[in-house]
Structures are given as C-alpha cells and as structure tokens.
C-alpha cells in the first residue's frame, strides 16, 4: 500500500479492534502532554466485566451449546475438551502468546509477528497501561491482556464442534497447542497489531508544525510512514474488523471444515440417527453465548462510551433479526419453526455483526442480521449434504460463512452514507473519506489471507497430530462413546 496517503493509512488505525496498542504507548502519551494519562475507573470496570463475560461464553456457554448437540455418550468429551482448551490457552497466552501477538514489537518482522520482550508478562505491573482507540485514553495493561486472553481461549474451542464425537482427547490437546500458536497468534498480529493513535496523532501534529520547513516535514512524514509501516500487514491493508470476525470466526470456521474432512465422518453418520441429546443445554449455551458476546463485541471498544453503546445495540438488533429470519426461513422451507433453528440464527447473527458492531448503524445491523440466516441455513443443509462432509456441529456453515458475510458487510455498512461511522483517521482527528473499492479490497484481502493461512496450517497440524498421537479412537470405542472410553465417566446417572 502507498505510505504517502496518510489519511488512508491512518484509516487503518481506528479500524482494527480490539488492538494491541500497549507497546509504544507510554512514550506516545509522554509525547503529547506532560503527565501520562491514567485509566478511567469506568473504562477499567467495563473492560474487566467484559473479560468475565467472554469467559462465560466459553464455559459454560460454548461447552453447553456444543454439548447439547452431541449424543449423551459424548457429552463429557465435549465439555472436557472445552475446559482443557481454555486452561491450556490461558497458560500459553501469558507465557508467550500475548507478547508475540500484541504485547511486544517484532522489530523489522513486526508486520508479520511480534516479539518476546513481554514473554511471561515481563515488566507488566498493575500500573502499566495500554492504549485505546481514543488519543490520550488508556486502560490498565493487565485488563487488556486478560480481555485478549479470553479471545485466545475461545477461538480454538470453537473448532471442536467440527470433529465432535470422534477425536482422541490427546489429539485435541496437541492440536490446540499447535493451532493456537501457529495459526491464531500470527493472524491476530497481522490484524490487531496497529499503530498507536497517540503516535499517529503526534506524528501528524509534527507534520503540521513543520510548516514550511521541508526537512522537518520530510522527517515527520517519514516518521508517520514508519509508524504505519510497523503495523501488522493486514492492519496496513486497511481492513476493518471491530471485534474479531476474521481472526476468530472465519479462522475457526475454515479450520473446522478442514478438520472435519481430514478426520472423516462419525461412525454411523447417515445411517444411524444422531439427534441432539439435549436441546435444553443447547439453549442455555446459546443464550449465554449471546449474553457474553456483548463483552466480546462492545468490550472490544475498550472504553465505556457511546461507541460501546452502539456496539451493544447493534449486537442486540442483528442477533434478534438473524434468529427471527432463520425461524421464518425454516418455517417456510421445512414446515416448522424449530428451537435449534432459532439458536442457530442467534449464533449466525452474533458472528455476522462481530466485525461490524462498532461501524454499522442500527438499521445496517438489522439488514445484516436478516440476510445472514438464509445463507447459513443453506450451508448447514443442502450444501453440506451435497458436499458430504461431516461438520458435526456446523462450525464452517455458521462461523465461517457468517464471518465472511460479516467481514464483507462491514466494508459496506461502515459507509457514512448508509449511517455507518466511517473509519476514523487519527491524522486529521476525524473519520476519513469512505472509498468503497479500497475498503472492500481490504476486507477481501483479510478474508482470503485468513482462509489460506488457517486452511493450510490446520491441515499440516492435523497431519502432525496424526503422526504423533493419532486422530481417532478405535471404532468400538467411538461406538461406546468417548465419555467412558476417553474420560472414564458418564455425564448422567439418573
């Protein structure tokens, strides 16, 4: 991209949330006023509560949503896998994840990966702060780290729905370790390692102040260019993703598809009936995912301000619209409105609005929600059957498809002409001009990059797991159910 277009490059800045601005902040803050900014307790309370909400999405939310959809004999295997994944990722995030993804600069390699200076959270204390999307506003770095940690925990857990009921626990563990490290961390860095607003603002200010002094001006512009140049490469491309539609959902969704194909169908798939063992649990899970998702989407704004409120109301509207629209589509095509249909719509709507929640207008969110369900329904039924893969719990059909629709929809709905917020440009301290071609190109670039890296990477990692521990249990063990064979427990003893 052309670093001589600061306005547009800057567009990148406000764009990618939740961002890893921690790195350069202190300095930046200094740059602009004598005493460094201190966190607002309202923002801190908000970010911490949002982190808790996102944890609730994983457990019990996701665990129940998925668990309810499998057969009784595999219930615990799903629950245990989710628990294992979040605890493992919680540990690796503080050991090296945060530093590589968002915490430390990778120097010359920074467009591709961060550094290890903050491995084991070296140097971070309760008085360290991280930047936000408003110049001169910060939040405690620990709050930022734990919020980002919850994203790192839930993403790999989303994938297991694709190979539910048929993968060895040891394989899931190894897969999680490798996937979160080699797939999630780089992608998160590409998209979320952005230039700190304060730095951009400072550099822009310098350009202005340089006035007619050519030398100064050149230096200042070089500085600005450097600042943009040091951002993750997808961030530089200008793609916008408010809360992680690309990094989390498209990423997990495509990984799920690859895994479902590589691992193969469940024994008896297509022959035996495999109805959800408890749609009640699925309803509880879906509801808690919805509830927690406000932390995921609006928490990504880091601050508790009007934009957070926008993210909340958009998340609410898109979800209602998608649930309702899935219900109507199913009623029309299958003859009956079902609960599973409605909750599938809930998830589809939540995924679709994720990248758009802080950019679209409420009416934009409504349209996006209404539109996403029919498409996902199609992918979870006709198309899935046509292609014949066993994506057990429709991770691809819902997370990847809705994620893609959301990513592209965001590029359109951010348009101020459609009531969108536009993309903030820190060099001018206001939203920059909207350029549809540029924006959509950037969105498509981000989607494709994610699909390619995650798709290929997932395949390779599965091959490694196959060699090291093997992917599937023996058929009779799968028949008996993973609960007893892998965990030696039963979910229910009524």
């Amino acid at each position: 991209m052309n670093l001589n277009l600061p306005a547009r490059c800057a567009a990148v800045v406000g764009a990618l949330a939740p961002a890893g601005l921690a790195l350069l902040l202190a300095g930046a803050a200094m740059a602009q006023d004598a005493k460094p900014p201190v966190p607002n307790n309202g923002d801190t309370a908000w970010l911490l509560v949002c982190s808790v909400l996102v944890l609730m999405m994983s457990v019990p939310g996701l665990a129940l949503f998925y668990g309810g959809l499998v057969r009784t004999k595999n219930m615990l295997s799903v629950l245990t896998q989710v628990m294992m994944i979040i605890s493992l990722c919680g540990i690796t995030w503080v050991l090296y994840g945060y530093s590589l993804a968002l915490g430390a600069s990778g120097g010359a390699l920074n467009p591709y990966i961060g550094g290890l200076d903050k491995a084991m959270l070296a140097g971070v204390t309760s008085s360290s702060n991280a930047a936000t999307f408003s110049t001169g506003v910060v939040v405690p770095e620990f709050a930022f780290i734990v919020f980002q940690m919850t994203f790192f925990m839930i993403t790999p857990a989303l994938i297991i729905g694709a190979f539910a009921e048929r993968m060895k626990f040891s394989a899931v563990l190894l897969f999680t370790l490798l996937w979160s490290t080699f797939i999630y961390i780089p992608i998160a860095h590409w998209v979320w390692a952005i230039a700190a607003p304060d730095d951009v603002a400072a550099a822009a200010k310098a350009i202005v102040e340089a006035g007619t002094d050519a030398a100064k001006k050149a230096a200042a512009e070089a500085k600005l260019a450097e600042i943009f140049g040091s951002a993750g490469w997808l961030a530089q491309a200008g793609a916008i993703d408010f809360a992680g539609g690309t990094v989390v959902h498209i990423n997990a969704g495509i990984a799920g598809l690859v895994a479902a194909i590589v691992i193969g169908k469940r024994t008896g798939y297509g022959k035996e009936a495999m109805p959800p063992h408890s749609l009640t649990m699925t309803l509880i899970g879906a509801s808690l995912l919805w509830v927690g998702w406000f932390g995921f989407n609006a928490g990504s704004n880091l601050e508790a301000n009007g934009t957070a409120a926008l993210a909340v109301i958009n998340t609410m509207i898109a979800t209602c619209a998608a649930a309702f629209s899935w219900m109507l589509c199913e009623w029309a095509t299958k003859g009956k409105p079902s609960l599973l249909g409605m909750v599938s719509g809930v998830i589809a709507g939540l995924v679709a609005i994720t990248p758009a929640c802080g950019f679209a207008s409420p009416m934009g969110a409504l349209v996006l929600g209404l539109a996403v369900s029919p498409v996902c329904l199609l992918f979870c039924t006709s198309i899935k059957h046509a292609l014949g893969y066993d994506d057990a719990l429709d991770v691809f059909g819902i997370h990847c498809i809705a994620g893609i629709l959301g990513a592209l929809g965001t590029g359109i709905l951010v348009n101020p002409a459609l009531g969108g917020t536009g993309v903030f440009d820190y060099t001018i301290g206001a939203p920059g001009a909207y350029d549809m071609v540029f924006q959509m190109t950037a969105q498509v670039k981000a989607v494709l990059a994610t699909i390619v890296w995650s798709g290929i990477g997932t395949f390779v990692i599965l091959m490694v797991c196959k060699l090291v521990v093997g992917l599937r249990p023996a058929e009779e063990k799968e028949r008996e159910g993973l609960d007893i064979t892998e965990h030696g427990e039963r979910a229910y003893n009524y």
């Binding site: 009936a273 109805p275 599973l340 249909g341 899935k384």
Partner: protein
C-alpha cells in the same frame, strides 16, 4: 396363574390401574417402552438432519393373576385402555408356573 401383559398408550395408565384395582387386583408392574406398529410415527428435523421416528412411547403393564381372573382382567384393561384410535395396543397372556412373595415366602395365589 397367568401373566397378563398389556401395551397401552401412556396417558391411559391411570384409568387401567383403576380398572384393575376395582377388580381387587392389588399389584402390577409398569415399564416405559417404545412401540412399533401400525400407528405411524413422526419426523424430527435437527438443522440439516431429518429422522423418521417409528418407535412411539407406550406403557407396558404386567400383572400376574390367578387363572380364574384372566378374562375379567383382560376385559377391564381393554375397556379402560381403548380410545378406538390406531395404536391402542395389545394384551398378551402367558402362563406362570410359580409365584413367590419375597417378603413372606408365600407362594402362588397367596403371593399376588
């Protein structure tokens, strides 16, 4: 003695129980079963997957009676369980050679 086994519609249980106790029969054993027969089931759809469910919930009542009571019991059950709609169920009668009441060790007639 005879073992009378009746397969009935679940919501008829109370009526059948009353009918039998009215005959002075003081005991019976009930099991939740699934029945397959002329009565056709329904289809369930879970997102992509459609399943035809052909087994319907039924109640199996087992009551052991003195041979002399057999006819009366059958008759009582049939009247109580009948709705006239397909799926009402069956009554089967099998011979019982020996009966014991665990608590007392009483046998046969005295045991039921």
């Amino acid at each position: 003695m005879k073992l009378i086994t009746a397969i009935i519609k679940p919501f008829k249980l109370e009526e059948v129980r009353t009918a039998l106790t009215d005959l002075g029969l003081q005991g019976m054993t009930v099991t939740e079963v699934k029945g397959y027969g002329r009565q056709k089931g329904h289809t369930e759809i879970y997102r992509g997957a459609e399943y035809a469910v052909s087994f319907l919930p039924k109640i199996k009542i087992e009551v052991v009676v003195e041979s002399s009571m057999t006819a009366k019991a059958i008759d009582a059950i049939q009247r109580a369980a009948r709705t006239g709609q397909i799926g009402d169920g069956k009554i089967f009668v099998a011979p019982i050679e020996h009966t014991v009441r665990i608590r007392t060790g009483e046998v046969d007639a005295a045991a039921v």
